[in-house]
Symmetry: C2
Protein backbone atom coordinates (compact mmCIF):
# COMPACT_ATOMS: atom_id res chain seq x y z
CA UNK A 1 0.00 0.00 0.00
CA UNK A 2 3.02 2.24 0.00
CA UNK A 3 3.30 2.92 -3.68
CA UNK A 4 6.03 5.26 -4.75
CA UNK A 5 3.99 8.23 -5.80
CA UNK A 6 6.89 10.38 -6.86
CA UNK A 7 7.69 8.41 -9.95
CA UNK A 8 4.14 7.58 -10.93
CA UNK A 9 3.00 9.22 -14.10
CA UNK A 10 -0.37 9.28 -15.76
CA UNK A 11 0.56 6.26 -17.80
CA UNK A 12 2.53 4.14 -15.39
CA UNK A 13 3.83 1.99 -18.19
CA UNK A 14 6.05 4.73 -19.52
CA UNK A 15 9.08 2.52 -20.13
CA UNK A 16 10.34 3.85 -16.79
CA UNK A 17 13.20 6.06 -17.80
CA UNK A 18 15.79 4.10 -15.79
CA UNK A 19 15.30 6.35 -12.78
CA UNK A 20 18.98 6.19 -11.75
CA UNK A 21 18.11 6.34 -8.10
CA UNK A 22 20.71 8.03 -5.99
CA UNK A 23 21.36 7.44 -2.31
CA UNK A 24 19.60 10.66 -1.37
CA UNK A 25 16.56 9.52 -3.37
CA UNK A 26 16.24 6.27 -1.49
CA UNK A 27 16.91 7.95 1.83
CA UNK A 28 14.25 10.51 1.08
CA UNK A 29 11.69 7.81 0.43
CA UNK A 30 12.65 5.85 3.53
CA UNK A 31 12.62 8.85 5.81
CA UNK A 32 9.37 10.11 4.38
CA UNK A 33 7.70 6.81 5.10
CA UNK A 34 9.27 6.60 8.54
CA UNK A 35 7.99 10.05 9.42
CA UNK A 36 4.52 9.60 7.99
CA UNK A 37 3.99 6.32 9.77
CA UNK A 38 5.30 7.67 13.05
CA UNK A 39 8.42 5.54 13.23
CA UNK A 40 10.29 8.77 13.74
CA UNK A 41 8.01 10.48 16.24
CA UNK A 42 6.49 13.86 15.48
CA UNK A 43 8.26 16.79 17.03
CA UNK A 44 11.45 14.87 17.65
CA UNK A 45 14.74 16.46 16.89
CA UNK A 46 16.77 14.98 14.09
CA UNK A 47 20.46 14.47 14.75
CA UNK A 48 22.37 14.38 11.51
CA UNK A 49 25.27 12.21 12.72
CA UNK A 50 22.91 9.80 14.44
CA UNK A 51 20.60 9.36 11.45
CA UNK A 52 23.52 9.12 9.05
CA UNK A 53 25.02 6.32 11.10
CA UNK A 54 21.63 4.66 11.51
CA UNK A 55 21.11 4.43 7.77
CA UNK A 56 24.75 3.85 6.96
CA UNK A 57 25.26 6.84 4.72
CA UNK A 58 27.31 9.97 4.71
CA UNK A 59 26.09 13.13 6.35
CA UNK A 60 26.11 14.90 3.01
CA UNK A 61 23.64 12.51 1.45
CA UNK A 62 21.51 12.69 4.54
CA UNK A 63 21.43 16.46 4.42
CA UNK A 64 20.23 16.33 0.86
CA UNK A 65 17.38 14.04 1.84
CA UNK A 66 16.56 16.27 4.80
CA UNK A 67 16.37 19.28 2.56
CA UNK A 68 13.83 17.55 0.37
CA UNK A 69 11.80 16.57 3.40
CA UNK A 70 11.83 20.22 4.36
CA UNK A 71 10.60 21.15 0.89
CA UNK A 72 7.48 19.01 1.34
CA UNK A 73 7.03 20.38 4.85
CA UNK A 74 7.54 17.12 6.72
CA UNK A 75 10.40 18.55 8.75
CA UNK A 76 11.37 22.06 9.78
CA UNK A 77 14.93 23.30 9.78
CA UNK A 78 16.62 26.30 11.29
CA UNK A 79 20.12 27.35 10.34
CA UNK A 80 22.78 26.28 12.81
CA UNK A 81 20.15 24.68 14.98
CA UNK A 82 18.92 21.58 13.24
CA UNK A 83 15.84 19.87 11.96
CA UNK A 84 12.81 18.43 13.71
CA UNK A 85 9.80 16.54 12.50
CA UNK A 86 6.76 18.72 12.09
CA UNK A 87 4.26 18.88 14.89
CA UNK A 88 0.91 19.53 13.32
CA UNK A 89 -1.25 21.81 15.40
CA UNK A 90 -4.99 21.65 15.01
CA UNK A 91 -5.03 25.01 13.29
CA UNK A 92 -2.42 23.87 10.78
CA UNK A 93 -4.46 20.77 10.16
CA UNK A 94 -7.48 22.85 9.30
CA UNK A 95 -5.32 25.07 7.12
CA UNK A 96 -4.45 22.06 5.02
CA UNK A 97 -8.14 21.38 4.54
CA UNK A 98 -8.65 24.87 3.14
CA UNK A 99 -5.83 24.43 0.65
CA UNK A 100 -7.16 21.05 -0.37
CA UNK A 101 -10.62 22.48 -0.82
CA UNK A 102 -9.44 25.13 -3.24
CA UNK A 103 -7.14 22.80 -5.12
CA UNK A 104 -9.19 19.62 -5.27
CA UNK A 105 -12.33 21.44 -6.28
CA UNK A 106 -10.40 22.81 -9.23
CA UNK A 107 -9.00 19.34 -9.89
CA UNK A 108 -12.49 17.86 -9.96
CA UNK A 109 -13.63 20.40 -12.50
CA UNK A 110 -10.64 19.80 -14.72
CA UNK A 111 -11.02 16.05 -14.35
CA UNK A 112 -14.61 16.28 -15.51
CA UNK A 113 -13.49 18.22 -18.54
CA UNK A 114 -10.38 16.32 -19.53
CA UNK A 115 -10.23 12.90 -17.93
CA UNK A 116 -10.13 9.99 -20.33
CA UNK A 117 -12.99 7.54 -20.51
CA UNK A 118 -10.61 4.81 -19.43
CA UNK A 119 -9.67 6.83 -16.37
CA UNK A 120 -13.32 7.29 -15.48
CA UNK A 121 -13.88 3.55 -15.83
CA UNK A 122 -11.01 2.94 -13.42
CA UNK A 123 -12.54 5.40 -10.99
CA UNK A 124 -15.80 3.50 -11.07
CA UNK A 125 -13.98 0.24 -10.53
CA UNK A 126 -12.20 1.75 -7.54
CA UNK A 127 -15.48 2.81 -6.02
CA UNK A 128 -16.85 -0.66 -6.57
CA UNK A 129 -13.96 -2.11 -4.60
CA UNK A 130 -14.59 0.39 -1.83
CA UNK A 131 -18.23 -0.63 -1.69
CA UNK A 132 -17.24 -4.25 -1.27
CA UNK A 133 -14.63 -3.44 1.37
CA UNK A 134 -17.22 -1.47 3.24
CA UNK A 135 -19.40 -4.59 3.29
CA UNK A 136 -17.23 -6.48 5.77
CA UNK A 137 -16.55 -3.96 8.45
CA UNK A 138 -13.15 -5.38 9.42
CA UNK A 139 -11.20 -3.61 6.74
CA UNK A 140 -12.98 -0.38 7.25
CA UNK A 141 -10.80 1.07 9.93
CA UNK A 142 -7.58 1.37 8.00
CA UNK A 143 -8.13 0.51 4.40
CA UNK A 144 -11.02 2.83 3.89
CA UNK A 145 -8.77 5.65 4.98
CA UNK A 146 -6.17 4.69 2.42
CA UNK A 147 -8.91 4.19 -0.10
CA UNK A 148 -10.17 7.68 0.55
CA UNK A 149 -6.75 9.10 -0.16
CA UNK A 150 -6.44 6.92 -3.22
CA UNK A 151 -9.66 8.35 -4.55
CA UNK A 152 -8.63 11.94 -4.09
CA UNK A 153 -5.25 11.06 -5.50
CA UNK A 154 -6.78 9.82 -8.72
CA UNK A 155 -9.04 12.80 -9.14
CA UNK A 156 -5.99 15.01 -8.84
CA UNK A 157 -4.18 13.03 -11.50
CA UNK A 158 -7.26 13.12 -13.66
CA UNK A 159 -7.02 16.90 -13.82
CA UNK A 160 -4.06 16.57 -16.15
CA UNK A 161 -2.57 19.68 -14.57
CA UNK A 162 1.00 18.84 -13.74
CA UNK A 163 1.52 21.52 -11.14
CA UNK A 164 -1.77 20.76 -9.45
CA UNK A 165 -0.87 17.10 -9.33
CA UNK A 166 2.50 17.80 -7.81
CA UNK A 167 1.20 19.98 -5.02
CA UNK A 168 -1.60 17.60 -4.12
CA UNK A 169 0.21 14.29 -4.51
CA UNK A 170 3.74 15.18 -3.47
CA UNK A 171 3.05 17.54 -0.60
CA UNK A 172 -0.46 17.50 0.79
CA UNK A 173 -0.97 13.79 0.31
CA UNK A 174 1.83 12.82 2.67
CA UNK A 175 0.91 15.51 5.16
CA UNK A 176 -2.63 14.17 5.27
CA UNK A 177 -1.36 10.67 5.87
CA UNK A 178 0.92 12.00 8.58
CA UNK A 179 -1.80 13.69 10.56
CA UNK A 180 -4.07 10.68 10.27
CA UNK A 181 -1.34 8.59 11.85
CA UNK A 182 -0.44 11.22 14.42
CA UNK A 183 -3.95 11.99 15.59
CA UNK A 184 -5.00 8.39 15.22
CA UNK A 185 -8.18 9.44 13.51
CA UNK A 186 -10.58 6.91 12.17
CA UNK A 187 -13.25 8.37 10.03
CA UNK A 188 -16.73 7.90 11.43
CA UNK A 189 -18.40 8.86 8.22
CA UNK A 190 -16.92 6.45 5.71
CA UNK A 191 -20.37 5.58 4.47
CA UNK A 192 -21.31 9.19 3.79
CA UNK A 193 -17.89 9.80 2.26
CA UNK A 194 -18.34 6.90 -0.12
CA UNK A 195 -21.72 8.22 -1.18
CA UNK A 196 -20.16 11.63 -1.85
CA UNK A 197 -17.40 10.00 -3.85
CA UNK A 198 -20.01 8.30 -5.96
CA UNK A 199 -21.77 11.57 -6.67
CA UNK A 200 -18.49 13.16 -7.70
CA UNK A 201 -17.68 10.35 -10.08
CA UNK A 202 -21.13 10.58 -11.57
CA UNK A 203 -20.62 14.28 -12.22
CA UNK A 204 -17.25 13.60 -13.80
CA UNK A 205 -18.70 10.84 -15.95
CA UNK A 206 -21.41 13.26 -17.05
CA UNK A 207 -18.65 15.76 -17.91
CA UNK A 208 -20.32 18.26 -15.62
CA UNK A 209 -17.29 20.20 -14.38
CA UNK A 210 -19.22 22.77 -12.42
CA UNK A 211 -21.14 20.14 -10.47
CA UNK A 212 -18.05 18.05 -9.84
CA UNK A 213 -16.27 21.09 -8.47
CA UNK A 214 -19.19 21.97 -6.22
CA UNK A 215 -19.57 18.41 -4.94
CA UNK A 216 -15.88 18.09 -4.22
CA UNK A 217 -15.85 21.36 -2.33
CA UNK A 218 -18.80 20.28 -0.22
CA UNK A 219 -17.22 16.88 0.36
CA UNK A 220 -13.99 18.33 1.67
CA UNK A 221 -15.81 20.87 3.79
CA UNK A 222 -17.85 18.12 5.40
CA UNK A 223 -14.70 16.15 6.04
CA UNK A 224 -13.12 19.21 7.57
CA UNK A 225 -16.08 19.81 9.84
CA UNK A 226 -16.04 16.20 11.01
CA UNK A 227 -12.36 16.56 11.78
CA UNK A 228 -13.01 19.79 13.62
CA UNK A 229 -15.56 18.12 15.85
CA UNK A 230 -13.26 15.21 16.56
CA UNK A 231 -10.49 17.61 17.43
CA UNK A 232 -12.74 19.43 19.85
CA UNK A 233 -13.53 16.15 21.55
CA UNK A 234 -9.91 15.14 21.74
CA UNK A 235 -8.66 18.40 23.16
CA UNK A 236 -11.48 18.42 25.69
CA UNK A 237 -10.91 14.80 26.68
CA UNK A 238 -7.46 13.62 27.59
CA UNK A 239 -4.50 15.98 27.81
CA UNK A 240 -3.24 16.57 24.27
CA UNK A 241 0.22 15.29 23.57
CA UNK A 242 0.34 15.78 19.84
CA UNK A 243 -1.92 18.79 19.76
CA UNK A 244 -0.87 22.23 20.76
CA UNK A 245 -2.23 25.66 20.10
CA UNK A 246 -0.84 28.35 17.85
CA UNK A 247 2.87 27.95 17.36
CA UNK A 248 4.94 29.69 20.00
CA UNK A 249 7.65 31.71 18.33
CA UNK A 250 10.71 31.41 20.52
CA UNK A 251 10.49 29.44 23.75
CA UNK A 252 13.48 31.09 25.36
CA UNK A 253 14.01 28.81 28.30
CA UNK A 254 11.65 25.89 28.01
CA UNK A 255 11.49 23.96 31.25
CA UNK A 256 10.95 20.68 29.47
CA UNK A 257 12.56 19.95 26.13
CA UNK A 258 10.82 18.09 23.34
CA UNK A 259 11.91 14.48 23.12
CA UNK A 260 14.95 13.68 21.05
CA UNK A 261 15.00 10.78 18.67
CA UNK A 262 15.77 7.73 20.78
CA UNK A 263 18.93 6.39 19.22
Amino acid sequence: MTVDTSTMTLAALDLEDAPSLTIADRLFDQLRQAIVEGEIPAGSKISEPALAARYGVSRGSLREALQRLEAIKLIERRANVGARVVQLSSTELLEIYSVREGLEAMAARLAAERMSDAGIAELKALLERHRQELAHEDWQRYFQQEGDLDFHFRIARGSGNRRLIEILCNDLYHLTRLYRCQFGMKSHRTREALREHELIVEAIAARDGELAEWLMRRHIRASRQATEQQLALITAGHPPSAINGPRVRRPRRPTTRPPATPN
Copy 2:
Protein backbone atom coordinates in the same frame (compact mmCIF):
# COMPACT_ATOMS: atom_id res chain seq x y z
CA MET B 1 11.64 46.10 -5.87
CA THR B 2 13.24 42.78 -5.07
CA VAL B 3 12.04 42.29 -1.56
CA ASP B 4 13.04 39.11 0.15
CA THR B 5 9.72 37.37 0.36
CA SER B 6 10.99 34.25 2.03
CA THR B 7 11.61 35.92 5.34
CA MET B 8 8.60 38.22 5.25
CA THR B 9 6.00 37.45 7.82
CA LEU B 10 2.58 38.88 8.37
CA ALA B 11 4.00 41.50 10.66
CA ALA B 12 7.27 42.44 9.05
CA LEU B 13 8.46 44.11 12.23
CA ASP B 14 8.79 40.82 14.02
CA LEU B 15 12.10 41.63 15.70
CA GLU B 16 13.64 39.65 12.83
CA ASP B 17 14.90 36.59 14.59
CA ALA B 18 18.52 37.19 13.54
CA PRO B 19 18.02 34.93 10.54
CA SER B 20 21.60 33.61 10.65
CA LEU B 21 21.87 33.59 6.92
CA THR B 22 24.01 30.83 5.55
CA ILE B 23 25.91 30.84 2.28
CA ALA B 24 23.32 28.60 0.66
CA ASP B 25 20.60 31.03 1.74
CA ARG B 26 22.24 34.00 0.06
CA LEU B 27 23.08 31.96 -3.00
CA PHE B 28 19.51 30.81 -3.24
CA ASP B 29 18.24 34.38 -3.20
CA GLN B 30 20.81 35.54 -5.73
CA LEU B 31 20.19 32.67 -8.12
CA ARG B 32 16.45 33.00 -7.80
CA GLN B 33 16.61 36.64 -8.75
CA ALA B 34 19.06 35.94 -11.57
CA ILE B 35 16.77 33.28 -13.00
CA VAL B 36 13.55 35.23 -12.62
CA GLU B 37 14.98 38.33 -14.27
CA GLY B 38 16.51 36.33 -17.08
CA GLU B 39 20.14 36.95 -16.20
CA ILE B 40 20.55 33.19 -16.35
CA PRO B 41 18.61 32.43 -19.52
CA ALA B 42 15.67 30.06 -19.46
CA GLY B 43 16.42 26.55 -20.61
CA SER B 44 20.16 26.93 -20.14
CA LYS B 45 22.10 24.14 -18.56
CA ILE B 46 23.63 24.86 -15.19
CA SER B 47 27.20 23.74 -14.69
CA GLU B 48 27.95 23.24 -11.04
CA PRO B 49 31.71 23.92 -11.19
CA ALA B 50 31.17 26.98 -13.36
CA LEU B 51 28.50 28.51 -11.16
CA ALA B 52 30.41 27.69 -8.00
CA ALA B 53 33.47 29.48 -9.33
CA ARG B 54 31.37 32.37 -10.61
CA TYR B 55 29.90 33.02 -7.18
CA GLY B 56 33.05 32.09 -5.31
CA VAL B 57 31.58 29.31 -3.22
CA SER B 58 32.03 25.60 -2.80
CA ARG B 59 30.16 23.16 -4.95
CA GLY B 60 28.45 21.76 -1.87
CA SER B 61 26.84 25.03 -0.95
CA LEU B 62 25.86 25.57 -4.54
CA ARG B 63 24.19 22.19 -4.71
CA GLU B 64 22.16 23.04 -1.65
CA ALA B 65 20.94 26.24 -3.28
CA LEU B 66 20.19 24.37 -6.48
CA GLN B 67 18.11 21.89 -4.61
CA ARG B 68 15.99 24.65 -3.14
CA LEU B 69 15.55 26.17 -6.56
CA GLU B 70 14.32 22.81 -7.69
CA ALA B 71 11.86 22.72 -4.81
CA ILE B 72 10.21 25.92 -6.01
CA LYS B 73 10.28 24.63 -9.57
CA LEU B 74 12.62 27.25 -11.00
CA ILE B 75 15.09 24.62 -12.20
CA GLU B 76 14.76 20.97 -13.14
CA ARG B 77 17.30 18.35 -12.18
CA ARG B 78 17.95 14.85 -13.31
CA ALA B 79 20.20 12.48 -11.44
CA ASN B 80 23.67 12.18 -12.90
CA VAL B 81 22.77 14.60 -15.66
CA GLY B 82 22.46 18.02 -14.14
CA ALA B 83 20.16 20.97 -13.75
CA ARG B 84 18.67 23.41 -16.21
CA VAL B 85 16.52 26.46 -15.82
CA VAL B 86 12.86 25.78 -16.47
CA GLN B 87 11.47 26.50 -19.89
CA LEU B 88 7.85 27.39 -19.40
CA SER B 89 5.65 26.09 -22.15
CA SER B 90 2.39 27.83 -22.88
CA THR B 91 0.44 24.90 -21.46
CA GLU B 92 2.42 25.01 -18.23
CA LEU B 93 1.79 28.71 -18.01
CA LEU B 94 -1.95 28.15 -18.23
CA GLU B 95 -1.66 25.38 -15.66
CA ILE B 96 -0.27 27.88 -13.20
CA TYR B 97 -3.29 30.07 -13.78
CA SER B 98 -5.59 27.22 -12.83
CA VAL B 99 -3.73 26.60 -9.61
CA ARG B 100 -3.75 30.28 -8.80
CA GLU B 101 -7.46 30.45 -9.47
CA GLY B 102 -8.27 27.74 -6.99
CA LEU B 103 -5.86 29.00 -4.37
CA GLU B 104 -6.33 32.74 -4.62
CA ALA B 105 -10.11 32.47 -4.69
CA MET B 106 -9.87 30.63 -1.40
CA ALA B 107 -7.42 33.23 -0.13
CA ALA B 108 -9.82 36.03 -0.99
CA ARG B 109 -12.61 34.36 0.92
CA LEU B 110 -10.44 33.80 3.97
CA ALA B 111 -9.09 37.34 3.76
CA ALA B 112 -12.62 38.70 3.78
CA GLU B 113 -13.36 36.67 6.88
CA ARG B 114 -10.17 37.16 8.85
CA MET B 115 -8.15 40.10 7.60
CA SER B 116 -7.58 42.84 10.14
CA ASP B 117 -9.07 46.27 9.63
CA ALA B 118 -5.55 47.67 9.46
CA GLY B 119 -4.70 45.27 6.69
CA ILE B 120 -7.77 46.29 4.75
CA ALA B 121 -6.79 49.93 5.16
CA GLU B 122 -3.35 49.14 3.74
CA LEU B 123 -4.98 47.39 0.83
CA LYS B 124 -7.02 50.48 0.07
CA ALA B 125 -3.93 52.65 0.30
CA LEU B 126 -2.16 50.32 -2.12
CA LEU B 127 -4.98 50.64 -4.61
CA GLU B 128 -4.87 54.41 -4.25
CA ARG B 129 -1.18 54.37 -5.19
CA HIS B 130 -1.95 52.21 -8.18
CA ARG B 131 -4.61 54.63 -9.30
CA GLN B 132 -2.12 57.46 -9.18
CA GLU B 133 0.55 55.48 -10.97
CA LEU B 134 -1.95 54.67 -13.63
CA ALA B 135 -2.53 58.41 -14.12
CA HIS B 136 0.86 59.07 -15.72
CA GLU B 137 1.17 56.32 -18.26
CA ASP B 138 4.97 56.11 -18.09
CA TRP B 139 5.11 53.82 -15.12
CA GLN B 140 2.38 51.64 -16.36
CA ARG B 141 4.43 49.27 -18.41
CA TYR B 142 6.51 47.70 -15.66
CA PHE B 143 5.39 48.96 -12.32
CA GLN B 144 1.78 48.13 -12.81
CA GLN B 145 2.83 44.56 -13.37
CA GLU B 146 4.73 44.53 -10.09
CA GLY B 147 1.84 46.29 -8.46
CA ASP B 148 -0.50 43.59 -9.66
CA LEU B 149 1.63 40.92 -8.07
CA ASP B 150 1.92 42.98 -4.93
CA PHE B 151 -1.85 43.12 -4.69
CA HIS B 152 -2.31 39.39 -5.07
CA PHE B 153 0.56 38.86 -2.68
CA ARG B 154 -1.18 40.85 0.02
CA ILE B 155 -4.50 39.10 -0.43
CA ALA B 156 -2.72 35.81 0.03
CA ARG B 157 -1.10 37.03 3.22
CA GLY B 158 -4.43 38.37 4.38
CA SER B 159 -5.84 34.87 4.35
CA GLY B 160 -3.85 34.07 7.47
CA ASN B 161 -3.41 30.53 6.18
CA ARG B 162 0.26 29.76 6.50
CA ARG B 163 0.33 26.94 3.98
CA LEU B 164 -1.68 28.87 1.47
CA ILE B 165 0.67 31.83 1.85
CA GLU B 166 3.72 29.68 1.35
CA ILE B 167 2.51 28.08 -1.84
CA LEU B 168 1.36 31.33 -3.36
CA CYS B 169 4.19 33.60 -2.24
CA ASN B 170 7.16 31.25 -2.27
CA ASP B 171 6.43 29.23 -5.37
CA LEU B 172 3.83 30.64 -7.72
CA TYR B 173 4.82 34.23 -7.15
CA HIS B 174 8.32 33.79 -8.54
CA LEU B 175 7.12 31.58 -11.35
CA THR B 176 4.67 34.25 -12.41
CA ARG B 177 7.41 36.87 -12.38
CA LEU B 178 9.61 34.52 -14.37
CA TYR B 179 7.13 34.00 -17.16
CA ARG B 180 6.36 37.70 -17.36
CA CYS B 181 10.05 38.36 -17.91
CA GLN B 182 10.47 35.41 -20.28
CA PHE B 183 7.50 36.11 -22.47
CA GLY B 184 7.98 39.84 -22.18
CA MET B 185 4.32 40.32 -21.53
CA LYS B 186 2.93 43.72 -20.77
CA SER B 187 -0.64 43.65 -19.63
CA HIS B 188 -3.01 45.43 -21.94
CA ARG B 189 -5.78 45.44 -19.43
CA THR B 190 -4.26 47.19 -16.44
CA ARG B 191 -7.23 49.51 -16.22
CA GLU B 192 -9.73 46.68 -16.10
CA ALA B 193 -7.52 44.80 -13.68
CA LEU B 194 -7.39 47.76 -11.35
CA ARG B 195 -11.16 48.02 -11.42
CA GLU B 196 -11.43 44.34 -10.56
CA HIS B 197 -8.98 44.80 -7.73
CA GLU B 198 -11.14 47.57 -6.36
CA LEU B 199 -14.22 45.39 -6.42
CA ILE B 200 -12.37 42.64 -4.59
CA VAL B 201 -11.20 45.01 -1.89
CA GLU B 202 -14.72 46.33 -1.50
CA ALA B 203 -16.00 42.82 -0.99
CA ILE B 204 -13.28 42.12 1.56
CA ALA B 205 -14.01 45.37 3.38
CA ALA B 206 -17.68 44.38 3.47
CA ARG B 207 -16.61 41.01 4.93
CA ASP B 208 -18.41 39.28 2.08
CA GLY B 209 -16.24 36.22 1.66
CA GLU B 210 -18.40 34.55 -0.93
CA LEU B 211 -18.39 37.59 -3.18
CA ALA B 212 -14.65 38.17 -2.75
CA GLU B 213 -14.01 34.58 -3.74
CA TRP B 214 -16.22 34.86 -6.79
CA LEU B 215 -14.67 38.14 -7.89
CA MET B 216 -11.14 36.86 -7.47
CA ARG B 217 -11.93 33.76 -9.48
CA ARG B 218 -13.40 35.83 -12.28
CA HIS B 219 -10.45 38.20 -12.15
CA ILE B 220 -7.89 35.46 -12.54
CA ARG B 221 -9.90 33.79 -15.26
CA ALA B 222 -10.04 37.03 -17.22
CA SER B 223 -6.29 37.45 -16.78
CA ARG B 224 -5.79 33.92 -17.97
CA GLN B 225 -7.89 34.46 -21.05
CA ALA B 226 -6.02 37.63 -21.92
CA THR B 227 -2.76 35.72 -21.60
CA GLU B 228 -4.14 32.95 -23.76
CA GLN B 229 -4.98 35.38 -26.52
CA GLN B 230 -1.56 37.01 -26.33
CA LEU B 231 0.07 33.60 -26.52
CA ALA B 232 -1.93 32.76 -29.61
CA LEU B 233 -0.73 35.96 -31.23
CA ILE B 234 2.88 35.35 -30.29
CA THR B 235 3.00 31.76 -31.48
CA ALA B 236 1.30 32.73 -34.71
CA GLY B 237 3.58 35.71 -35.29
CA HIS B 238 7.33 35.30 -35.11
CA PRO B 239 8.96 31.92 -34.59
CA PRO B 240 8.74 31.12 -30.91
CA SER B 241 12.06 30.85 -29.14
CA ALA B 242 10.88 30.60 -25.57
CA ILE B 243 7.67 28.80 -26.34
CA ASN B 244 7.42 25.17 -27.17
CA GLY B 245 4.61 22.72 -27.19
CA PRO B 246 4.00 19.82 -24.83
CA ARG B 247 7.19 18.69 -23.24
CA VAL B 248 9.03 16.05 -25.22
CA ARG B 249 9.96 13.20 -22.97
CA ARG B 250 13.34 11.97 -24.11
CA PRO B 251 15.05 13.64 -27.04
CA ARG B 252 17.25 10.68 -27.79
CA ARG B 253 19.61 12.28 -30.24
CA PRO B 254 18.81 15.96 -30.43
CA THR B 255 20.40 17.51 -33.49
CA THR B 256 20.71 20.90 -31.83
CA ARG B 257 21.41 21.23 -28.15
CA PRO B 258 19.89 23.91 -25.95
CA PRO B 259 22.31 26.73 -25.19
CA ALA B 260 24.63 26.38 -22.26
CA THR B 261 25.21 29.17 -19.82
CA PRO B 262 27.82 31.45 -21.39
CA ASN B 263 30.64 31.42 -18.88
